[in-house]
């Protein structure tokens, strides 16, 4: 099978962010980067599908700056066969502009399955994979936590609020991956060595025009310091009293 996975370079979130000088971006000073969590599970899904159907190719694609090559190498070291970097110094905040560039690369690639992570944890949007599917006129099944592909079609499950849907779809298709589908493999030393020799092609991203702009970014208000009501079960009556009279929480 011919499989594509789209991944994004995102900051590691275990930091306190600062707002950039323009007031509409995050200050990138000192940030570390990794592959977006959901995209690692998308890579894993692609590798597992390829292992079940030997003889195929897994192509990993990322839109971002030159440095996103690091994230592509990580996917190659996990086992993807080749990589394409769609170079853009800044990733637009409008998901559709990104989707157009990815669709331009994926169109004509003759892929049986195109995987995305469910969402990028930096933008917090959940739009690009689905938009790419629309632009390519492919069936799209977003946010799957169960997936079975065989015989040119697939079945999947996705979570709703308080329920789940079972879906059927034909290939080729676009699938976005939710947590719970799999656990990503760690790159082996052999994989890391092999990745250095795998092809990584760089070309300019054909970004669409952005119609959604970030006017402002702010840090959320800090929560006021709380208090320790007490120790052990003796503190329970006071806690319940505070919840009822002060917080009016129930």
């Amino acid at each position: 099978m011919n499989i594509a996975v789209c991944i994004k370079r995102v900051p590691v979130m275990e930091v306190k962010f600062a707002i950039g000088k323009d007031g509409a971006s995050v200050d990138e000073t000192g940030l570390k980067y990794d592959v977006n969590d959901f995209d690692l599970w998308a890579v894993e899904a692609a590798l597992q599908l390829n292992e079940k159907n030997p003889g195929g190719t897994v192509t990993v694609i990322s839109l971002g700056p030159d440095a996103a090559g690091e994230q592509l190498r990580k996917a190659l070291s996990m086992g993807a066969d080749k990589a394409v970097l769609l170079k853009a110094d800044k990733v637009p905040s409008d998901g559709f502009a990104v989707a157009e560039a990815l669709a331009a690369e994926l169109r004509g690639g003759n892929y049986d399955v195109i995987f995305f992570g469910k969402k990028a944890i930096d933008s917090g949007a959940e739009t690009v994979g689905i938009m790419v599917a629309e632009l390519l006129d492919l069936p799209c099944v977003p946010a799957v936590f169960k997936l079975d592909i065989a015989g040119g079609k697939g079945t999947a499950m996705r979570a709703l609020e308080g329920a789940a849907e079972v879906l059927e779809f034909p290939l080729p298709a676009v699938i976005t991956v939710d947590e719970g589908l799999n656990k990503e493999r760690l790159p082996s030393l052999k994989g890391i060595m092999a990745a250095k020799k795998k092809p990584l092609e760089t070309k300019p991203a054909q970004l669409g025009a952005a119609a959604v702009t970030v006017a402002k970014m702010e840090l959320p208000a800090e929560r006021a310091a709380g208090r320790i009501v007490g120790t052990g079960k003796d503190a329970v009556p006071e806690l319940v009293k505070l919840l009822q009279t002060e917080a009016k929480a129930f």
């Binding site: 962010f17 905040s93 930096d122 949007a125 977003p142 329920a163 079972v166 329970v236 129930f250």
Partner: protein, 329 residues
């Protein structure tokens, strides 16, 4: 004076709370952009037209009913085609969706079909001059972005619970709209809806959430968390990623960076240390209570009220105390 479109999500023939919130959000935009009409669409199997009154009460001037046996379960391609066709013909200023699983499936499909801008997952919205501006949590909630759209139609999805359902006189009219494509032609087919335990409230709608972490030590001990949730009467059970990774609870209950993002009236964290990934999913809760044996646990930094102690001792006592308080109140 342009009108505003809303898509009102339904399930099993009933409008969802999220759907009514989308209608009320559209009402807000219409009122702030010169008092145009709100046109709210609901799609479902035969009988879904019966929901029209609820949509009117939430702020719809016109209810657009798409009724078809092939829409009894969500049909992504048929619904997206029908919504896109209506928005295209309607000349709307904006179109509002729910930022639920279904709305997050539907809204990008429609945006791409129309090549219209989409601002996702709004927690607040405002009309500023000729622009619609939504506040949208980014970087796992550590940054709040203001996304601005000037073009029409501006598409947006609103987070569950962000916009309260309004109450209006409900004098609207009803139009029937046929599906834009035969639902049988949809390539992606939902074959089954597996309902969760319907006696429990969904995390996104629950006013109270009791969540458990690794401090509970086993799946069996979550019974204690469930009992505390039951004592509140309207609480949902949540869990940390450590817990769902262990398989103690299903992934659907995970709260955090890669799971659900919630902001209930009351969040009770039981045996949760407060890893940054977990805080990303619950830090906007109105009141946070933490119970943890380690007084240095980071959860106490975001908690309004904390009890330092053994969860196996404190939680059953709290359950009893809440039951008693409920019985008296």
């Amino acid at each position: 004076m342009a009108h505003v479109f809303a898509f009102a999500e339904s399930r099993n023939g009933e409008a969802r709370k999220a759907g009514l919130e989308a209608v009320s959000a559209a009402r807000q935009i219409a009122d702030q952009t010169g008092g145009g009409e709100v046109h709210a669409m609901i799609a479902g199997g035969p009988g879904v037209a019966g929901q029209a009154e609820r949509l009117k009460a939430a702020g719809a001037d016109v209810v657009l009913v798409v009724e078809h046996p092939g829409l009894a379960l969500y049909n992504p391609e048929a619904v997206a085609a029908t919504v896109a066709a209506r928005i295209k013909d309607g000349g709307y200023r904006a179109a509002v969706f729910s930022a639920t699983s279904q709305g997050k499936d539907l809204s990008p499909r429609v945006a791409a079909k129309l090549r219209a801008p989409l601002a996702p997952d709004a927690v607040a919205l405002a009309v500023e001059g000729d622009a619609i501006v939504v506040r949208h949590p980014m970087y796992t909630g550590k940054v709040i972005g203001s996304l601005k759209i000037t073009a029409s139609p501006a598409l947006l999805s609103v987070r569950l619970g962000a916009i309260p359902v309004g109450e209006t006189a409900g004098a609207g009219r009803v139009e029937t709209v046929p599906p834009a494509i035969d639902p049988a032609q949809g390539r992606v087919r939902v074959t089954e809806l597996k309902e969760g335990n319907t006696s429990t409230v969904d995390l996104g709608e629950a006013p109270v959430i009791v969540a458990g972490g690794r401090g509970l030590k086993s799946a069996e001990n979550f019974k204690m968390v469930e009992e505390l949730a039951q004592s509140f009467g309207n609480a949902a059970v949540g869990a940390t990623r450590a817990v769902t990774d262990e398989g103690w609870r299903p992934h659907s209950e995970q709260i955090g960076q890669t799971g659900r993002v919630v902001s209930p009236e009351l969040y009770v964290a039981v045996g949760i240390s407060g890893a940054i990934q977990h805080l990303a999913g619950m830090r906007t809760s109105k009141t946070i209570v933490a119970i943890n044996k380690d007084k240095e646990a980071p959860i106490f930094k975001v908690a309004d009220y904390g009890i330092v102690g053994d969860v196996f001792e404190v939680v059953p006592a709290l359950t009893e105390a809440v039951k008693q308080a409920k019985a008296q109140g």
